[in-house]
């Protein structure tokens, strides 16, 4: 009976064929609702169906640092051990699907592929962050968000300025200033009461900024 086996267990002893998941019911979440917290026992991994999730840690000094945002189709919650090392929260109205380690039913989840994808994301983020200049980082962020809405004239970032700041290692003020710079350069427009709806005016200029 594998039902109580945790994700961490087969991450640690991954010599075994990954147990097939039992497809659980999707979970609907309100904005800022917690999915799991640091220190908890890791029982499942998740796939985002709609909306977005933020994965973050709190430093000893209480500062929040957002490791990643997960959008539609992306996986999160895979840990090295069987204890959560970070927090997961819904950014907005979100629906996620949990997968637990249980008896073989359907096709097994490709945990290795998920881990490698997340690793590639984390490495790319390292480059973005150290690639100093606040404007570059914000441009890279906007580009990343735009890639999630291919072909759309406009899209909603959904994250607050402080989410973006904690993601990019900047302050809220600096992020706001960068957005106004991007507007002044006619790279994008911001709409919506919270100015989170982006309309890209000059995609090439945006890309040029991230280089």
């Amino acid at each position: 009976m594998l039902h109580d086996q945790t994700i961490g267990d087969y991450a640690a002893g991954g010599r075994h064929y990954p147990p097939a998941p039992a497809r659980d019911q999707p979970i609907r979440l309100k904005p800022d609702e917690t999915i799991y917290s640091e220190g908890e026992h890791a029982r499942a991994i998740y796939q985002v169906e709609t909306g977005a999730v933020r994965i973050y840690r709190l430093t000893p000094s209480g500062q929040r640092y957002i490791l990643s945002f997960c959008g539609k189709g992306e996986w999160f919650g895979l840990e090295t051990g069987n204890v959560r090392t970070d927090f997961a929260e819904a950014v907005c109205e979100t629906s996620i699907r949990p997968f637990r380690a249980s008896q073989n039913t359907a096709a097994p989840i490709d945990l290795l592929h998920i881990a490698l994808t997340n690793l590639a994301k984390a490495q790319h983020k390292q480059l973005v962050i150290t690639e100093q200049s606040a404007l570059k980082r914000v441009a890279a962020f906007v580009f990343e968000m735009a890639e999630r809405h291919p072909g759309a004239r406009e899209f909603d970032m959904m994250m607050s300025r402080s989410d973006i700041a904690d993601y990019l290692g900047l302050t809220v003020e600096t992020v706001a200033r960068c957005f106004t710079k991007l507007r002044e350069k006619h790279v994008l427009c911001l709409n919506g009461k919270l100015q989170r709806i982006v309309r890209l005016l000059d995609r090439d200029a945006l890309i040029a900024l991230t280089v």
Copy 2:
């Protein structure tokens, strides 16, 4: 015959039981010798036996960014696809052991565990880098190096100042200034003609700096 299968192949199609490795002969490397380069076909993963390896990328502007240093026992070279996305070089006299995907012989390699370990490393590094203040970053780096030599009075970092700078997203000058500050604070001594041999004087003070 799986002999020509690449790492990327079973990373992408990882639903299969990881092929058991053929234990290849160790490779001895001189300082700065290349192990693989961006764009090459990924044929093997490696484990460090002695010495150290730097994994890095070059930005479009030609800047080097070091993603990680791999020390004794650590694995590198596992890619999402079958093409190298980064460079690997020996930092110093180094011996590594390659593992190729070939017919089942010995125990299979736990690729998932390797991927998750590297992911955890990458995430930790994100925190270190965004945790502003050059001194904190350098302190965290020294601590990381010290952890690789538990119980040793002294140890050789082996990396040059510019390696450290490219790893932490700082400049050589800033790194040097931080080391002198650490000396002034009597946290450590530096010995050797290249000032790369560290003697920790106040481990607690070092840890306090990284918080």
